[in-house]
């Protein structure tokens, strides 16, 4: 019987209400003993258990009879006993209560984390003193804490081993973390940077701008990615600068904003790009000049400007000329790609009728691919198909699609060209009846230097630049490009350009309007 415990309760309730309206001790005992959701125990001053409630016995699986005396100690986790008892004896010495988290064995033999709040019960007679404690199961909270710690250390490990620099700053621009790669990139250790303004990692010229940027962005409400793949200049510890690519995101922590930046040193990439550009430019110049002479000489001979050639010589000359033309086209493709990718290509846009461009591209292709069969299925539609385009470039796109289709067509099989309307777009499609686009090739069709192997003998030529060039040109026109293909059943490559005017209602002021004015004159 926990006599002193109840006495303590009664005393405290009595002091709060003087009405004498006391709760009967039996009710209290029942409440504490049977229905309390927490474990309750009481010991004498030597630590011998004199009371445990039902919850406690349910939890530990130790019946009251065994818990009394020193039996309850067996429920303590062996590793936690020392700390438990030292807190206990300290409490006995000072008379202050203590609170401790430790593991308690449950009925099933597994340990659960609990928190015990223990208070010494002071009594006039030394024999009556002792301790009263409540035990709360905190294993859920402990598990959650552990999970959080685990995930945090996992994240920390990932960030620390990341190849890219990861830096976080608070909303005033002070660095709050700096991973190992950042140290490698900037030459500063984390200790030297954390707590300092981020501006120490940039050249003088950028510092003011950055700080005002941080302040402005901080005023905005929603977390967002502030930029991916931005190229800015960083400064190392030794004062040297380098180009870096940065992705910045913003997130809320407590009441403030934090920013995380992922940083990649791209000086090596930049250098390689420069070397490649130089290489291409040198090679192209070195190739172009002699090629101009070779092709010039051959063209002039072929044109009969140097007199008649014997039939055999003329035949050989024709082979040389044809291959020279081919080589020149290849070289031009490489240079086209380089210029398109470097943004050096200039486009001269004008209002054109897409029907004309289709017709001209087909005519040009027929001239060089004399044995190809090309059918224009409906590009002679009654209405003009106006687009704003660089004529030469769009003819090149159609020509590339035609050349591809012919390449992948079986001998004597026709290639079909269509000009159709697709909502607000004019679509030019080129269909062949070849083997179709192999499934594994599909995602890479518009990349540079992509080849489809083993289709036909003719397919082996070419560098795989035609579609990459076409896509780049179409993109510059605000259009899109794509293809439909079922394996073994041919392929249709198409591109679409924005329609300038509705098909049946030419707008005034545009080229269609011009026609009307001209007709009236």
């Amino acid at each position: 019987m926990p006599i002193r415990l109840f006495r303590a309760f009664r005393k405290s309730s009595a002091s709060r209400s003087s009405s004498g309206n006391q709760v009967p001790s039996e009710v209290l005992e029942t409440l504490l003993s049977a229905t309390a959701p927490i474990g309750i125990f009481e010991t004498d001053r030597r630590g011998n258990c004199i009371f445990v409630n039902d919850r406690w016995t349910q939890f530990t699986g130790i019946p009251k009879s065994r818990a009394y005396g020193q039996g309850w100690v067996t429920a303590l986790h062996p590793e936690d006993k020392a700390e438990f008892f030292s807190s206990w004896s300290r409490s006995a010495g000072t008379g202050a209560g203590f609170s401790l988290e430790f593991r308690l064995r449950g009925g099933d033999g597994t340990f659960a984390w609990v928190r015990a709040n223990v208070v010494p019960v002071v009594s006039k007679t030394a024999n009556e003193g002792g301790f009263v404690g409540v035990v709360t199961n905190i294993s859920d909270r402990k598990a959650a804490e552990q999970a959080l710690r685990d995930s945090e250390s996992r994240l920390r490990a990932i960030i620390e081993t990341a190849v890219n620099g990861v830096i976080t700053i608070d909303q005033t621009g002070i660095v709050t973390s700096f991973n190992a790669s950042s140290s490698r990139i900037f030459g500063w250790s984390a200790d030297e940077v954390v707590g300092q303004p981020l501006t120490m990692l940039m050249p003088e010229a950028y510092r003011t701008l950055h700080q005002s940027h941080v302040e402005n962005v901080g005023k905005q409400a929603l977390p967002r990615v502030l930029g991916t793949g931005r190229e800015i200049v960083g400064q190392r510890k030794d004062g040297t600068t380098f180009p870096m690519e940065v992705a910045i995101s913003q997130f809320r922590i407590g009441s403030g904003w934090m920013y995380a930046g992922i940083i990649r040193d791209i000086s090596e990439r930049k250098q390689i790009e420069r070397m490649k550009d130089e290489f291409v430019s040198v090679v192209s110049h070195e190739l172009r000049t002699p090629l101009t002479s070779i092709s010039g000489a051959l063209t002039l001979v072929h044109g009969g400007f140097a007199g008649e050639l014997p039939a055999k010589a003329s035949e050989l000359m024709e082979i040389a000329r044809k291959n020279c033309t081919h080589l020149m086209a290849q070289l031009n493709d490489i240079l086209d790609v380089e210029n398109l990718w470097a943004g050096r290509t200039t486009f001269s846009f004008e209002y054109v009728d897409l029907r004309d461009l289709v017709w001209r591209a087909v005519e040009m292709t027929r001239m060089s691919e004399t044995d190809a069969r090309i059918d224009i299925v409906n590009a002679d539609a009654a209405h003009p198909a106006y687009v704003k385009a660089d004529m030469v470039r769009i003819i090149q796109v159609i020509g590339n699609l035609l050349a591809n289709a012919i390449k992948f067509s079986p001998m004597n099989e026709v290639v079909e060209v269509r000009l159709t309307q697709n909502e607000k777009w004019w679509r030019v499609s080129v269909s062949d009846f070849g083997a179709g686009v192999p499934r594994q090739m599909r995602p890479r069709m518009f990349q540079r230097f992509v080849h489809s192997d083993g289709i036909t003998e003719r397919a082996k030529s070419g560098m795989g630049l035609g579609l990459a060039i076409a896509r780049s040109i179409v993109a510059q026109h605000g259009g899109h490009i794509g293809f439909d293909s079922e394996e073994t059943r041919g392929a249709t490559f198409w591109f679409e350009l924005p329609m300038l005017f509705g098909q049946s209602e030419p707008a005034l002021g545009g080229p269609a309007g011009h026609e009307m004015v001209n007709a009236a004159q």
Partner: protein, 135 residues
């Protein structure tokens, strides 16, 4: 001055100076422009020689290679412009480099012919540029 009374389009292109350090290009250019198209062609293999030829040959038009050792096309053009004979002669750059072709904007060249070019089409290309020239 007589030239002001004659409409521009009526001035015939007859004398072309070809400036290129590559001997074969010079030979072929002369062949196609002179032997085939019937123009009068002079050759200069360096920028310095070009400046001299401008004064002695008095060309109607100059085909100027951009990438030349020593004086490149741009400095050659500048030197030509400083001469009396070459102050206003239409100049067409010939280059294999797109980057250099872009720099044409900074000069008063009336056009760029990109290498490799089609020799057979060269006379027509030049005549077209000649017709569209702004003096």
């Amino acid at each position: 001055m007589v030239s002001t009374t004659v409409p521009e389009s009526d001035v015939k292109l007859s004398k072309v100076l070809c400036v290129d350090d590559d001997a074969d290009i010079c030979f072929l250019t002369r062949f196609v422009l002179q032997d085939v198209a019937g123009l009068d062609v002079a050759i200069a293999r360096t920028g310095r020689e070009a400046v001299e030829k401008v004064e002695s040959f008095r060309p109607d038009m100059i085909l100027l290679d951009v990438m030349m050792p020593g004086m490149d096309g741009f400095s050659t053009l500048a030197a030509i412009r400083r001469t009396t004979a070459g102050a206003t002669v239409p100049v067409v750059f010939v280059t294999a480099s797109a980057e250099l072709a872009e720099r044409r904007e900074d000069s008063d060249a009336i056009g760029v012919i990109a290498k490799p070019f089609d020799m057979a089409r060269l006379p027509r290309q030049l005549l077209e540029l000649w017709r569209r020239r702004v003096l």
